[in-house]
């Protein structure tokens, strides 16, 4: 009887187990693909107004409970779209990508994701391209150009390209907001040509804001009249709501309720 019970338990649990060849491969269980461009199409279907509202979260790693709480709160908000600033895994494994997506796809608004440094190790770059699309991407909406930039130069040097960012900024006919994982002023990571390119990007008159994650704490600063905003990690249900209207930005730290109003450069 005991054997029968054990066997039944095994049969029941084994029926929930798909085949995955290895944690090191780029095989995914979930079928979500090209999510950044798919959500761009969703965003284009929305009406535009004078105000843009964006929800921003970062660095969930394997903290799925707080991520789920943030997703729940974002879904109750009236933001236009959402940006995740990367580091949604610890080690870029395929099962971590699947686990993150299980929460991510529950966001009921167009959502975009940037590659973080943790997401870019191992098979991470291949997994990211499968799920989200190119590691560097931009879209235009409501007379802004939004750039999603891959900043993980140590982890994925093959696709890191500071010249792409500079070119995408130079070619824009719209004001620009850049989303990236690591700060473009990170002195540990960026030198010489990359530091020069990023300096020119930040000083460009069209670049209104550069928003990053990576360092896990909230920070707001000004660099050559460009607003630099750093998102905290999702721990303790931290996320940001950014509202932009007529060159004014209102940044709300949603966990604490604090709000800061700033003028963006003309």
């Amino acid at each position: 009887m005991k054997i029968l019970g054990l066997l039944l338990t095994f049969l029941i649990t084994s029926s929930c187990a798909p085949f995955r060849d290895s944690p090191f491969s780029d095989q995914l269980i979930r079928k979500d693909r090209e999510l950044n461009s798919a959500n761009h199409h969703k965003l284009n279907a929305l009406n535009t107004g004078t105000k843009i509202k964006i929800a921003i979260f970062a660095d969930s790693h394997q903290n799925y409970k707080d991520l789920d709480r943030v997703v729940f709160r974002i879904n109750q908000s009236d933001v236009d779209f959402v940006v995740g600033l990367g580091d949604f895994t610890n080690s870029g494994y395929n099962l971590e990508y699947d686990q993150f997506l299980d929460s991510y796809v529950r966001i009921n608004k167009p959502t975009f994701t940037v590659l973080g440094n943790h997401d870019a190790i191992g098979a991470g770059p291949s997994l990211f391209r499968k799920v989200f699309g190119p590691v560097n991407y931009y879209f235009e909406w409501n007379s802004y150009r939004f750039i999603l930039f891959h900043s993980a130069n140590w982890e994925n040097p093959e696709e890191f390209n500071s010249s792409w960012l500079k070119q995408t900024v130079d070619e824009s006919n719209f004001p620009i907001i850049i989303f990236t994982h690591a700060s473009l002023r990170d002195p540990e990571r960026y030198f010489e040509k990359d530091a020069i390119n990023f300096d020119e990007v930040i000083k460009n008159a069209k670049v209104k804001m550069v928003i990053n994650g990576h360092n896990h704490v909230y920070w707001l600063g000004n660099d050559n009249n460009t607003t630099l905003l750093q998102s905290p990690r999702v721990e303790q249900t931290q996320w940001l709501q950014l509202e932009i209207e007529n060159n004014q930005a209102l940044i709300k730290q949603m966990a604490t309720g604090e709000a800061t109003s700033i003028s963006l450069k003309n």
Binding site: I3, S14, A17, P23, S25, Q27, Y64, S91, G122
Partner: protein, 123 residues
């Protein structure tokens, strides 16, 4: 073997399994429930590491990624004078265990994986 961007790589697995029960059926033996632990290590030393490579400021910048461990259980049938064993296994690796502890959406399919193996027993 596994693949990444169309290229094939090798991983090496070591495991220890314990069978509490066994049933003889003619010249075959059924082990209805084996339980064990395993480690799996990739031989792709470029993408995976034990210590963070030299481009990172510290050796522990990242946790090691080349080696993982986990638990497994399954059923096995030995045959051909017990030399060969056909087994079905379910595994959960350590990263999955962390996710189970942290995740409120316990969708098991992301945390466990199954497999079939044919083994030769050296005795």
């Amino acid at each position: 073997m596994y693949s990444n961007e169309g290229r094939h790589y090798t991983q090496v697995n070591f495991g220890y399994r314990y069978s509490r029960w066994q049933y003889n059926i003619d010249d075959k033996t059924l082990h209805p429930l084996q339980m064990g632990i395993f480690t799996t290590r990739t031989l792709d030393y470029k993408a995976y590491f034990l210590e963070s490579p030299s481009q990172y400021p510290e050796k522990n910048y990242y946790d090691e990624t080349r080696l993982r461990w986990g638990f497994e259980f399954g059923s096995a049938l030995t045959f051909w004078s017990t030399r060969f064993e056909l087994a079905y296994l379910v595994r959960i690796i350590d990263s999955g265990l962390v996710a189970v502890l942290n995740n409120s959406n316990k969708d098991l399919q992301y945390y466990i994986s199954s497999g079939v193996s044919l083994r030769y027993r050296f005795e």
